[in-house]
Amino acid sequence: MYTITEKILLAHTDKKSISPGDFIYAKIDLALGNDITAPISIKEFEDIGAKKVFDRRKIALVPDHFTPAKDKKSAEQARCLKDFAGRHNIENYFEIGRMGVEHALLPEQGLVKPGDLIIGADSHTCTYGALAAFSTGVGSTDLAAAFITGCIWLRVPESMKFIYYGRLRPWVGGKDLILHTIASIGVDGALYKAMEFTGETIRRLPMDDRFSICNMAIEAGAKSGIIEADDITFEYIRRVSKKQKVNFKLNNDILKSDPDARYCKVREYDVSKIEPQVAGPHLPSNSRPVSRFKNVRIDQAVIGSCTNGRISDLRIAAKVLKGKKVNPNIRLIVIPATQEVYLQAVKEGLAEIFLKAGGVFSTPSCGPCLGGHMGILGKGERAIATTNRNFRGRMGHPDSEVYLSNPAVAAASAVKGRIAHPEEVI
């Protein structure tokens, strides 16, 4: 009678049973920090006099937000991670040139396994639910405590079930499903809850789309997003786990919800009715079909981030941009999420398509997604972006605007100079 979320949490405690609302102290399989959040954790770790991390193999440090360092202060923060990783012999520290945007990087490196309990001092840590792991964003203090103890306090969340059925329309993917879902429940529609995504559409959905969906669970206020493990999950795990020297055994029993598991809410979506979505300023819940935004002129298109910077995202964008030119008034910025994605995009000729179209192709970084660098908006400017948040001022000036979309829509909009459906370009 447990959901997959409850099963995974239970397996990480010394308890015999759990129910939603219980406070538990759970063991962690992986604790993640980046160049924004980990410096605070490291300071707290040292201020309290801690000497040793709980397990040097179960910590990942990724300098991805303001890197390659955008200014002196950012350089010092990245340096703080590097020094800490060196002092404690942290196995999974990723230097520039070998790194990537954390939530694309860790799964790709085989560091996420189904059934794991993962915390990260970054709100989009919920991404790993796509691989049937329980993963949630926490703060730097939680991360500092995890560095010391290898444990975390959690309140067992109630689960909400989201069932998707029907065939996807052309140019519709995981990003559109999650934007549509957030619009239907609001930015606090899943506050404190676990969102479980299921149904025949999800079962057919490739891993990259599943990552996009779970990545944005936080935008509905959720603690976590999760998808039960299936053949697509295991195929992905088989491919990436070759990078890890250790073989692991999966406990298949905990990777699915029981038929009589309890949900506080169940919602169903007929995906055949869903058009590509665009979320207008200034909330991800302002999502409507792309056709409703066709008069919106833009200044910049950004394709990348932990939501949509994976290889399949770049392939879709390249399909739209092949042989086309970016509108003279538009800046197109393409940012592959990881070094591996970057290399693959070069090998497949995608980088050439972006460059010939008149876009830039950057090294992996969170970059403009959070208004860090690599494409900040000026006063009154508008961007369409495959990122995850469009809060006021998120990408730069408080009087700028961000519209969220999938990579095909962002690419088509770059060609048209206004928000456009991919069919208008192809």
Partner: protein, 167 residues
């Protein structure tokens, strides 16, 4: 613990980019972060407030990123506590873990900007000294009270030892 201060009103869904924009995340200095607190909503906020003042907001306060710079900025600006109809979950746990007092009450909407408030953290009672009204905040579960009374998560760990379980 008791606080007295003037209420500053904010809307629903105040996000962490509004509390402290990402362009300032290249530092963890409380004074500097405090100077930019709520800048995206009110550029002069940090100049207008007096030490001990209280933020009062609608639902889902602190949604968005996991940055503890938000709590550091609020504390750094001199705000004594935050009252809201509800909090986003990462903001909620960060506030508990870092010892920033927060109170959740459905009645937050009754408080107006400029009302003078007295907050008793132990009882969860908020007294509106301007309006002569009393609101009751939802009490924290025992376990969370323990973290707060220890002075934050790391002090709690130090006190309890690394491997404790929650009963």
């Amino acid at each position: 613990m008791r606080f007295k201060g003037k209420a500053w009103r904010f809307k629903d869904d105040v996000n962490t980019d509004e509390i402290i924009p990402a362009r300032y995340l290249n530092t963890i200095d409380p004074v500097e972060l405090g100077r930019h607190c709520m800048e995206e909503i009110d550029p002069d906020f940090s100049k207008k407030i007096t030490k001990g003042d209280i933020i009062v907001a609608g639902k889902n306060f602190g949604c968005g990123s996991s940055r503890e710079h938000a709590q550091i900025a609020i504390k750094g600006a001199g705000i004594s506590c935050v009252i809201a109809e509800s909090f986003a979950r990462i903001f909620f746990r960060n506030a508990i873990n870092m010892g920033l007092p927060i109170l959740e009450t459905k009645d937050a909407y009754q408080i107006k900007e400029g009302d003078y408030l007295e907050v008793d953290l132990d009882t969860g009672i908020i007294t509106n000294l301007t309006e002569h009204k009393e609101y009751k905040a939802r009490p924290f579960p025992k376990f969370i009270q323990e973290i707060i009374s220890s002075g934050g998560l790391l002090r709690w760990i130090k006190r309890k030892g690394a491997r404790c379980s929650i009963k």
